[in-house]
Subunit: 671 residues, 2 copies
């Protein structure tokens, strides 16, 4: 590359890709976001990224304390800015959209205030409590978080140790952390920022424990922000990512709060201490399901970002030499690079359509619940649990494949990958640890098999478990069209059905051998996880293929999206071919054919690869990746970026005089 | 957990595990390290970790600048300390062992000086050059690094753009970075620390280019450490890990060095500019192979560390409730947790025996080379490339499985996992990007197939490619002992052979269809990578099983190590069952049986799991993990650790007064 080429506007290698694309990037962008939302998204991004108040140095150059402070600065600023953008921000959805643009700077300081504290109050306050607390929250006169997890207790809610004892004499609850393992641990913004928290604690009244209930606890003085008496609160220390967030701990020592600070919409403790239990225990867990649906969406976005960075960089990076004298090829042209990246690109599209479908199911079921129809709660819980775990696992691994496909530069913070990964990977753990969620999903599937046997009708997403799927593969392999996606989806269905029935039989055999249900489920748990994965995989592949059929798109775009769906479906089989062949769903040679079909598609997808990621419409400020720049001018900007490294403030680092100089000169007399 | 239990010496849950073990941990430790080396290792660790001069706060609490400075402090200290430990440090091996103890604190500042700069000089200097440079290096009067990679050029050495033009008038080389993409980028300790570098550059003399050659370039003044004229040098900025290391950039502008600074052992430029080429081009690349062997060792160690942390924590963590009223089980007792961790534990042991075998082959071949026998160079290169890529990929994924198996706490820097991963993952990229290495390995395997067809005898590790392996599976499945490891290893052999022949046939078909060899290899590259993976996998499984047969160990230890080898071999098949069934090496039901055999072994391995990781003998100071503490006292020490978070220096963070206070009080009049 010559010095002149370096100052050109767009790297010619990436421009060539865009010029050669057969699809209209903008048409696809509209399909992904919807016309109106895309326009809104772009306006909100302009409002944030063109505003000089939000400018700051890249977070990679900040110490953790600086990151925290900078996060607080931007989040406080955003509260003030929002009220002045009334032409752009019209409703709650717009606020969420604005906040998600801000999240490009790092997890916002008031994120849990907005997504957990306020929604919990909105759902679980009595009308008096709403009047008391919510105006303070909306106005940011108090800032809250949600304190559930403890040092020794995560997924298993009933194991929480924090106690709230009711004292009828003063009409107060006395909150306590009776052990080290009961210290609240992890809640975001708990350490230094929040003034209040919803604290989950074991409720004791009149000598009896009534299990976990939510309490509003003030943590810090509204005058000087100092922790109140009985409250020990602080930051849990640095993590793999989430630098700006003060995930915190909270130790309660005989801390008294008014009786009216227990959230009493569903359960109540009356002044004399009488307890009234909630009408339905599942009602209180709706937030969790919603957050899981959001994680499916988050997986789609993270994988789309990683694909964008890796594919753009692969278009401008040239490496190795096939034949002496020829120019080094773009690494995007290597089959091994395509085989890493294009199935992940296809997966990003798959997850996009799946999150839309999942959100629709969530909304439908919620509407039913509001009409007192609770019939699909379990199905919703099982589906959202399985999809949250499946998509976050696949994305987690996929982000690292994308990073490593960029060679050494992927390891630099300039690539954006390290932060993308560090901020995404908790998705596999929080809001339900993935393996635990897969087991919950599987237990529902096993229950469905039993229900089907006893003649019950199974709801939508699991109805196939009562079908006889053995018909699909009978009749030999002649005449089977292995490139027909509908046919292949029927094989995914068969695989899922087989795995669920296999795990279910295993549970039954355990019971026949004298185990109780719990023991039998536990001993079959490895197989149950496989079954829930196969179920989720089937749902995803099916949803992707079916969503494309409903799209209104130009025929060329339909054609290219069909290539993506094909590579997704083919590769899914190729990578788990054992599952399909072990049960004679496919023959060995058919599996080989499908593997080759995937490889054969790669050069076709390559034609539009850059446009397929451009359509995700991530601005450079959102990607925060020198490698993923829209203009492809990577090397000169890596060099520019590095100049800001704090170590480069001086030519000779001050520590030279303390350590290196004395060492080097120690034997100078010998020179 | 009660307050009294928390101050006990060893957590009773982990003590119970140790008490119930059937093997002798110390016997196993001696087998892993050797009696003498184990004792030496422990003494060196005492020397470092009991020395108060090395004490400092955990690196997670430091800013990057502080990390750099602290690394320099410890590394400078170590140079001085070593000379005073003459009773412990007797030879070069002891120095390396001492340095590897120091590496627990983070990558040492003078790591490349010791492992790349000095070895390169030792191998490629003439005797005059040795006399001139080496004493300065050994005495740390100069500190060097190895500058090869450029912004635009990594794996493909011939593509490097840096130039060294010889000027016969002054008898100097003029070094230049002609483009942005030619700037040297990534070399460790290049940014702020090194005074010198071996710079790889295209040599031009008498108007002709002679390709890449090494030059010693002084970067900084030995008086005041300022960069010399013509030298622009600095830090490339923060990375995913390696915080203390000042990976750097170097831009050369008409920088002149004496003719005698070209390393001339193999090639020479005479004063008048006449060039003499090296007798054998492969001789100059020996260092790379050695470093790849070290990475196989590094993979074994990293996976052993991660297993130690995850298994110890799983023994003390209790979570969920199987049956109401029963205590929450240790998570180590869950089959899903065992299924995540025990195959990885077994893999750590497999990689340990493989690195021993690999090192032995390296030493043997090197001895042959020193006796002018070059027959096994290619085999060594292919094997070390494949094993480097295979073991680092598996370890990379395995570290994250271990981290996530610890739930949320795995995400805290207190767990040690984030740093372990961030410092390990470059192993997949540096010293040859893994996919590129797999392709190099595969090209050799394809060549072997051709050699075998033309009647040549194949060397040791690839001789099976000339065997007729189809005999193994003929004769139906009756009487096949699926728990017999020798039999299963023969199936791995057959799978590897099939995959290599399949890829090789694919290349041949490409050539028949009119491609040149390069084009045919490129179009078959996805299959070539699979073939090289299968070859490496076979070597590892075989080496593990065969190494155990040669061990002198008590029968109970033999028994337990056999369980580990079994779970490794079983799971390898279970996870790639498609490979085995597609080619009729196994039937579908046999694959299912083997998968179940793996699951059935888990509770047996659980009995000794803690002792199996204890035997790796990592001190707490080496693991730097609150979760992996030997005493199992996790929660109280997480709490203690968090107190040191810089955000906790004051109860109210100073930034409150700048941002949060004004925001909260903005509407206070409304209160």
């Amino acid at each position: 590359m010559t010095e002149t080429a370096e100052i050109m506007k767009v790297n010619p290698d990436i421009q060539k890709e865009r010029d050669a694309a057969t699809i209209d990037m903008e048409e696809l962008a509209v399909i992904i976001y919807g016309k109106e939302q895309l326009s809104k998204k772009r306006k909100l991004e302009d409002a944030v990224f063109n505003d000089p108040d939000y400018k700051c140095v890249p977070s990679a150059f900040l110490s953790r304390e600086e990151e925290y402070e900078e996060g607080l600065r931007k989040s406080s600023l955003a509260v003030l800015k929002q009220s002045k953008l009334s032409d752009l921000i019209e409703d709650h959805k717009d606020i969420m959209a604005y906040n998600s643009v801000l999240a490009s700077f790092g997890y916002p300081s008031f994120g849990l205030h907005q997504t957990m504290f306020i929604p919990t109050l909105e759902r679980q306050c009595t009308s008096e409590q709403r009047e008391k607390f919510l105006p303070l929250c909306y106005d940011y006169r108090i800032i809250g978080t949600y304190a559930q997890t403890e040092l020794g207790h995560g997924t298993f809610l009933r194991g929480l140790e924090t106690t709230a004892h009711y004292d009828p004499n003063t009409q107060e609850f006395i909150l306590n952390s009776p052990t080290i393992s009961s210290i609240k641990w992890w809640p975001g913004a708990l350490g230094k920022t929040s003034t209040h928290a919803v604290v989950l604690a074991q409720l004791y009244t009149l000598g009896k424990c009534h299990g976990i209930h939510p309490f509003v606890v003030q943590l810090r003085s509204l005058d000087d922000h100092k922790p109140l008496r009985g409250i020990t609160v602080g930051d849990i220390g640095p993590k793999m990512g989430f630098g700006p967030n003060d995930n915190g701990y909270l130790k309660l020592h005989k801390h008294r709060i008014p009786r009216t600070n227990m959230l009493m919409k569903y359960s109540q403790v009356s002044p004399d201490g009488t307890y009234t239990k909630p009408p339905r225990s599942t009602l209180t867990y709706g937030t969790m399901t919603f957050v899981r649906v959001l994680i499916v969406h988050g997986s789609a976005i993270a994988l789309a970002k990683a694909s964008t960075i890796a594919i753009r960089y692969s278009a401008v990076r040239r490496q190795s030499e096939l034949r002496p004298g020829e120019p080094e090829p773009q690494i995007l042209s290597y089959p091994t690079q395509q085989h890493k990246l294009f199935p992940l690109l296809a997966t990003a599209y798959a997850f996009h359509f799946v999150q839309l479908a999942m959100m629709k199911i969530y909304t439908d079921v919620n509407d039913q619940i509001n009409n007192s129809n609770f019939s699909r709660i379990q199905e919703l819980h099982a589906l959202s649990s399985g999809l949250k775990a499946f998509t976050s696992w696949v994305t987690n691994a996929g982000l690292e494949v994308c990073r490593m496909s960029c060679g050494g530069h992927g390891y630099s913070q300039a690539s954006g990958f390290p932060r993308l990964y560090a901020d995404f990977t908790p998705s596999c753990t929080y809001e339900g640890e993935n393996t635990v969620l897969m087991l919950q999903s599987a237990r529902y599937l096993v229950k469905c098999v039993r229900d089907a046997r006893s003649g019950k009708t199974l709801p939508g997403t699991v109805s196939y478990l009562s079908e006889d799927v053995s018909a699909v593969h009978s009749g030999g392999s002649s005449g089977r069209d292995l490139s027909n996606l509908d046919f292949l989806i029927s094989l995914y269905k068969q695989r899922a059905s087989n795995q669920v029935h296999f795990a279910s039989d295993k549970v039954d055999r355990g019971i026949s051998a004298g185990m109780d249900l719990v023991g039998a489920l536990n001993s079959a748990s490895v197989h149950l996880v496989s079954a829930a994965k196969a179920h989720s995989h089937y749902f995803i592949a099916k949803t992707f293929v079916e969503s494309l059929k409903l799209l209104k798109a130009s025929s060329e775009l339909q054609n290219v999206l069909h290539q993506l769906a094909s590579v997704y479906v083919f590769e899914g089989i190729a990578q788990s071919s054992g599952d399909f062949i072990e049960d004679y769903i496919l023959s060995g040679s058919e599996a080989k054919t499908i593997r080759q079909l995937a490889v054969d598609l790669l050069p076709l997808i390559r034609v539009n690869a850059v446009s397929l990621v451009d359509a995700f419409s991530f601005r450079d400020e959102v990607l925060q990746s020198v490698l993923g720049r829209y203009d492809g001018n990577v090397y000169e900007n890596l060099f520019k970026w590095a100049q800001n490294s704090p170590l480069n403030k001086t030519d000779v680092h001050p520590s030279y005089h303390k350590y290196l100089g004395p060492l080097l000169k120690r034997n100078q007399s010998k020179l």
